[in-house]
């Protein structure tokens, strides 16, 4: 297991850069994390594991991918988080935090969402555990991930559109923090990734670590050894840290955090726009949303607008622990652009019968481009399924000339 970092710092990174009004709640949460999560007080972790199994459908399989293995002439295994209830790894964290809020006696849940996957996971967990829930979502994201908006509503959550800025994840997080600062006494903020002030990065990692706990055992059962490399996409980095956590101490296992290269890695300082979301690869140290980490910012320190074809990766920051692991040379920060991700989306759909989330498709884009460097046994985390992305994929595919893509245009009118 990775370290717990009781002081909330990962070397230079991490910390608690939040308004004073939130600090008492963060102290309370730090204490609850210690007792319930780390020490299993009142059998919290047992309760959590049982619910992940019965409600969530864990363990998810690690599958041998026959045709990808053939294509790349090595063993490729898929950790199937797309098969978790809700269709993404997000439930591991959402269920953990909503349950923790319940143990803490909180009465209301708020959460931000980008792709809508964390929002739907939180809405499901809140319904399951009978907690009122409000989700903040940027308007741009509402438009590109509409099915998820309906799912949240169906589970009984309120969805509050956020219209500031570009209306994506960054603004949604800021707005949820404002709600939390207003209602902090009875409300828990279920943050959706390994970002934010301590204890969130460590706690979310611990809830997601079940991914690599299972995968490490499953790959062993199938191959008798460990994988040579593990690939996971990285937005905030929760599926990433979840997939890496139990491999960090296995020095022979290469870890690859695949960020969104967007349309370009270059930055438009003048416009304040970085047409990518590659904060680990191209960002600079700074303070955003409660933590010191790598962020996309201009030379003054203003946060840049990020871009990715995949809403779930479209964020100007990244988890502080990942920033540290990259600096330490333990994790390789790499990236795949929009085109590469779309191609990989179609490839996986056709070769393996798995329609991946556009986020997860980035990891497969990296595999396609670099398989030769990844060793004999490669594990790729399929962080989610792609149903939510169909509209975007149809639109973006039409703009491009993608080899493997079927013709979709003739049917798309009825969407």
């Amino acid at each position: 297991m990775t370290q717990t970092y009781a002081d909330g710092k990962f070397g230079e990174y991490g910390g608690q850069y939040v308004p004073e009004a939130l600090m008492p709640a963060i102290e309370e949460l730090t204490d609850a994390y210690q007792r319930y999560v780390l020490e299993n007080e009142d059998g919290f972790m047992d309760d959590f594991r049982a619910r992940l199994r019965d409600f969530g459908g864990r363990p998810t399989p690690t599958q041998y991918a026959e045709r990808l293995s053939e294509r790349y002439d090595r063993e490729v295994y898929l950790k199937r988080e797309d098969l978790l209830h809700g269709g993404a790894h997000k439930l591991n964290n959402a269920l953990g935090q909503v349950l923790l809020a319940k143990y803490m006696g909180k009465e209301r849940i708020v959460a931000e969402t980008g792709a809508g996957q964390h929002g739907t996971a939180t809405a499901m967990a809140a319904a399951h555990l009978d907690m009122p829930c409000e989700i903040y979502m940027g308007e741009t994201d509402i438009n590109r991930q509409r099915p998820n908006v309906f799912r949240m509503r169906l589970n009984g959550s309120e969805v509050n559109p956020v219209t500031t800025g570009r209306g994506t994840l960054k603004e949604a997080i800021s707005e949820t923090m404002r709600d939390w600062a207003t209602n902090v006494e009875d409300t828990h903020y279920v943050i959706g990734s390994v970002v934010g002030p301590h204890p969130f990065p460590a706690m979310v990692r611990d809830f997601q670590a079940v991914i690599s706990e299972e995968a490490r055992r499953q790959v062993r059962e199938k191959t008798g050894g460990l994988p040579d490399s593990v690939l996971a996409c990285a937005g905030g980095g929760s599926n990433t840290m979840g997939a890496f956590a139990n491999f960090v101490d296995d020095e022979g296992v290469g870890l690859y955090a695949v960020e969104a290269g967007g349309s370009s890695l270059d930055v438009d300082e003048e416009a304040g726009v970085a047409p990518n979301s590659a904060s680990l690869s191209t960002g600079e140290e700074g303070v955003l949303h409660g933590a010191r980490t790598k962020i996309l910012q201009d030379t003054d320190g203003q946060i840049m607008e990020s871009h990715s074809v995949s809403a779930g990766l479209d964020y100007a920051g990244v988890g502080p622990e990942l920033a540290r692991l990259v600096d330490d040379g333990r994790v390789n920060a790499v990236n795949v652009d929009d085109d590469g991700a779309l191609e990989a989306f179609h490839r996986l759909s056709q070769l393996e019968g798995i329609i991946p989330a556009l986020e997860s498709a980035h990891a497969f884009g990296y595999l396609e481009e670099n398989y030769d460097d990844l060793g004999d046994v490669v594990l790729v985390n399929v962080s989610g399924r792609g149903d939510k992305d169909l509209e975007t994929v149809i639109e973006e595919t039409e703009k491009r000339d993608i080899d493997a893509a079927p013709s979709l245009a003739e049917f798309s009118g009825g969407f």
Binding site: V18, A21, M23, P24, V287
Partner: protein
Amino acid sequence: MGDESENTTAANPELAAAFADGPAFVPYLAAGDPDYESSLQYVEALERGGADVIELGLPFSEPIAEGPTIQSAVVRALEGGMTPDRFFEFVEDLAVDVPLVCMTYYNLIYQYGDEPGPRPFVERAAEVGLSGFVVPDLPAEEADPLREACDEFGLDLVFIVAPTTRGERLERIMSQVSGYVYVQARLGVTGAQDDVSGQTEQSLDRLADYDVPKAVGFGIKTGEHAERIVAGGADGIIVGSALVDIVADGAKDGESADAVAERLESKARELKQGALRGYDQRVPQAEGK
């Protein structure tokens, strides 16, 4: 005052002096909202209206402690070209005599200059004559580097105390604060409100034993609010959104900068008069201290 609350950090005599006789009126505006020249005029109007200290916002793209009013001001100011360097020029160009406090978020302070960390920003702030800082996303836990730089250059570091701040946290903050303490009148974000929060009195009670001026902010909108808050024991009032609203209306309606400045001045006067009335109501108490 107990040992633990001993405050050895009072760095800048100007801020303390602003609270020395009578209640301090501390207005806030975002520098450069909606443009550089008008904004200079607006800040100067606040001084004419009776400001004792002025909090000048250096706009940051992710203002997590602000409500919609100040968020919009930040957007206007950024679109108007405000940057940290322009901000320092702005301070130099201002023709005001009252002390100025820079309100901004930590990343801008941290990124400024050649070396990482807050020192270059604080050094430059001292050069242009700023008196101190309020940094809403920097709790006492993370403030040591900025506190040290402020001590080095003789600037004050104002901390915010929230309605949820109690016990040990309160003591820790009060041992680091200097200039004045910003008493957050209610939970939530900035924004003008139609009433005075009951949380204000409780917060002032908790702070009664600390010998640092207490300025109450968040939600104050009228002279009557100011009056009640000062009558309730505050040493000063901080008003932002109610003033920013005037700038926003002016920008929207295409009003002349002179007309907006005039309205700001008279709003400032209303708030200052309210504070003075509140102070009169508690003169016996004040003398007893």
